[in-house]
């Protein structure tokens, strides 16, 4: 079938894959977050080992006008280290939960990266010139004897090999008792929010020693806890609006103008439950794992275990669109509960024009839905399909009865190969898909 995300002739092709080919995957190499920057020129990934790798798109060369720019490693740095909480005798994982870019304001790039407890603001800057001709020291750095200096000279900037430096500019620590699951930069470019299981804090990018708590759902008696915060995001245009989702499948939209504490929501989004499909797992699969505003700010998208829903911010009682990601898993919920897969948190993303959405599944499959044509496609991120510019073939899962050729049966799915993190270039049809320790980059076929 024709691809999704553009016109009818649209097809996705393999572009690149990053990461080791080994069958044995080191836990630290597992990619835990993927994010394009605002222009799409930079692509950042975070992994379980606390490292951040930034890829930069090469400028299109005149020699090969038809090939899009490739992403190559631009900078690698260790963002977070494992820590030990002595009070609770617990380790704090260094896994990078989220990366969010700041809009670019000067030559340097800034991003926020967070693990379970600490958020850091990193500055990534280039250095391609070096000053030479100092008066007080030699080229090797040795100090010159001031009495020997007979003349003064002005140091000159000489070109050098490009060096990309990453330095931590701010460390926002000690504000979260529970595990941070989201960070989101506000449209005012001055503040950002961070959310953990029970609280949401508002920070100023310049101030590290305090933050404002704007949502607190911790009950006085922890035994009464039945619901946690699973994701939060700032509105892309209205700097006073943000949303947060919960483990009970609800989304609350809050307006910071209403009060200092946003415990009372302005809007409450929940789809009424279908009593005929109720089971013991209903609540678990309704838990929202990701929430994303559309670029327009008019809609938001939520991902629960089996589906993706698009909500109109003006309508609270039900979503405007619902897309089934892998409905064939509904009859397997007990097994998935047993092996904990039912708790996997899949993310979702919009394309630049909000006409298509993408999310991951198991067996290294990922799904794309075109909101206009209502067409959907299942693609696979695998080394087998990794010839340069090879067109990706649509995949299909067979749910019962006779399995057609090229279909894969539900029982053959590999639940260890899960695609939790995907990202879509803000302007073009280029997507980044994280499959365990490999990063796949796909783009549309140039006709």
């Amino acid at each position: 079938m024709a691809g999704v995300g553009g016109g009818n002739d649209f097809q996705w092709c393999f572009s690149q894959v990053k990461g080791a080919i080994d069958e044995d995957v080191a836990e630290a190499d597992i990619i835990s977050t993927v994010e394009f920057n605002y222009t799409g020129d930079l692509l950042a990934t975070g992994d379980k080992g606390g490292r951040v790798v930034i890829f930069q798109r090469e400028q299109e060369s005149k020699n090969r006008p038809l090939s899009r720019g490739e992403y190559n490693v631009y900078s690698t740095f260790q963002s977070h280290e494992p820590e030990f909480d002595y009070l609770k005798s617990l380790e704090i994982e260094e896994k990078i939960n989220k990366i969010r870019w700041l809009p670019q304001q000067n030559a340097a790039h800034f991003l926020l990266s967070t693990n379970d407890k600490t958020i850091k603001l990193w500055k990534i800057s280039e250095r391609d010139k070096r000053a030479e001709g100092y008066n007080l020291k030699d080229e090797d750095g040795r100090l010159r004897d001031p009495f020997r200096i007979t003349s003064l000279r002005v140091p000159v900037l000489m070109p050098m090999d490009l060096m990309v430096e990453a330095s931590p500019r701010r460390i926002f620590a000690n504000a979260h008792t529970y595990h941070i699951n989201s960070i989101s930069v506000n449209s005012d470019h001055e503040t950002y929010l961070s959310a953990d299981d029970l609280r949401i804090n508002l920070w100023h990018l310049e101030i590290t020693d305090r933050s404002f708590n704007i949502v607190d759902i911790k009950p006085a008696n922890m035994e009464e806890l039945t619901e946690v915060i699973t994701a939060a995001e700032c509105h892309p245009h209205q700097c006073n609006v943000f949303v947060y989702s919960s483990s009970k499948g609800t989304i609350r939209l809050c307006d910071m103008r209403a009060g200092a504490l946003c415990d009372r929501h302005s809007k409450f989004f929940e789809e009424p439950e279908d009593p005929s499909s109720r089971s013991f797992f209903s609540e678990i699969i309704s838990s929202i794992s990701d929430v994303k505003f559309s670029h327009s700010g008019r809609y938001m998208m939520t991902r629960d275990y089996l589906s993706v829903k698009v909500w109109d911010l003006n309508m609270e009682n039900r979503p405007v669109e619902t897309y089934q990601v892998h409905e064939y898993l509904r009859s397997k919920l007990c097994s998935l509960y047993e092996n904990d897969c039912i708790f996997d948190k899949f993310e979702c993303c919009w394309n630049g024009s909000d006409s298509a959405i993408m999310t991951g599944s198991y067996n290294n499959f990922f799904r794309m839905f075109d909101r206009n044509t209502r067409r959907d496609i299942t693609l696979e991120a695998s080394r087998e399909n990794s010839k340069p510019r090879a067109i990706l073939k649509p995949r299909k899962v067979c749910t019962g009865g006779k399995r057609k050729k090229d279909e894969i049966s539900v029982d053959s799915l590999d639940f260890n190969k899960k695609i939790l993190h995907t990202a879509w270039h803000p302007k073009e049809n280029v997507i980044a898909v994280a499959a365990t320790n490999n990063l796949y980059i796909f783009q549309d076929k140039i006709n």
């Binding site: 617990l90 994982e93 299981d197 035994e223 109720r278 013991f280 009859s331 047993e338 708790f343």
Partner: protein
């Protein structure tokens, strides 16, 4: 991932309610199998909640979702239990009076209804206000788990692992066994063995499931869940236990870390703890010391198997 040994009775697709309108005996069968499946799900959930002897803080969202599932099952079983008792008595009465089989029990309808209205208690149910399952201390769960416990709480906490419908007396006894195993699993007993024994227990449980439908059951459940939360420092006879537990570090070992000699912090070994437990203070409401000793022997046996392999 964790329960390699658990016999999965809960067939996929079986979590839905059994079909209505089946002829008499099939209805009984499917409702029994539904109960079995539900019980299996409950056991699985409780195991999941207990397996937090890791070095890293457990995922709160996951814990909350599992706890909510357990709560849901408990609610349904509460209502089912009281209905089962009522309908069985009805059935006996009807049978003795008319000599014919009982009418199709309406408990399945009730079950459906209940699921659609979570949290609503039935009128006239003996468990008018059952205190719902509460996972102790979502925060600092590890310290609180080990800190001193009320006498009742030890048994009830342990007993919560037992089938909910067991009779009171039976609960205490098996509860003790399970309590020990729980301690074991926290201190490094293998998951497989836990599951193997769970399996045996389950079979016993299933028999019990058929048998225990008295009002005592409802009371047992209330007691089981009511004191699941371990409270902090109670003065009095438990102070000895307190002192005992106060030394234990909250970072439990994985069996792996124990075997490889890695430890998060210097600790009492599992044997030491259980030794002192059996030697020192044994509150009267706990099973006799002999029970503890037999469980210690069991633990020895388990450890031998692991180390031997």
């Amino acid at each position: 991932m964790f329960s390699k040994g658990t016999k999965r009775k809960f067939s996929d697709g079986g979590e839905e309610l059994p079909e209505e309108g089946l002829p008499g005996s099939n209805e009984e069968l499917s409702s029994v199998s539904y109960s079995l499946q539900r019980q299996s799900l409950l056991d699985m959930s409780l195991i999941k909640l207990q397996l937090c002897h890791m070095l890293v803080e457990p995922n709160l969202c996951r814990s909350v979702l599992i706890a909510n599932t357990v709560r849901q099952i408990q609610e349904e079983m509460t209502h089912d239990g009281s209905w089962q008792a009522a309908t069985m008595m009805e059935a006996f009465a009807a049978a003795s009076a008319a000599g014919s089989g009982a009418a199709g029990p309406p408990e399945r309808l009730v079950a459906t209804e209940v699921l659609c209205r979570p949290g609503r208690e039935m009128n006239g149910s003996p468990t008018a206000e059952p205190k719902l399952f509460s996972v102790m201390g979502y925060e600092e769960c590890r310290e609180e788990e080990v800190v001193a416990v009320e006498e009742d709480s030890i048994c009830s906490e342990a007993a919560s692992n037992v089938c909910l419908s067991g009779s009171m007396g039976h609960c205490w006894e098996r509860g003790m066994l399970r309590g020990e195993r729980e301690l074991d699993s926290r201190l490094g007993a293998p998951d497989e063995d836990v599951d193997v024994e769970e399996e045996d227990e389950e079979e016993e449980d299933d028999n019990e499931l058929e048998g225990c439908r008295e009002e005592g059951e409802a009371k047992a459940m209330r007691q089981v869940f009511g004191t699941f939360e371990i409270k902090n420092s109670h003065p009095g006879p438990e102070s000895a236990l307190e002192e005992l537990f106060s030394d234990v570090d909250a970072s439990y070992y994985d069996l792996d870390t124990m075997l490889t000699g890695m430890q998060a912090a210097p600790k009492i070994g599992p044997y030491d703890l259980l030794d002192s437990l059996s030697q020192s203070h044994t509150p009267s409401s706990l099973s006799s010391a002999s029970n503890c000793r037999s469980d210690l022997n069991e633990l020895d046996h388990i450890m031998e198997i692991i180390v031997g392999s």
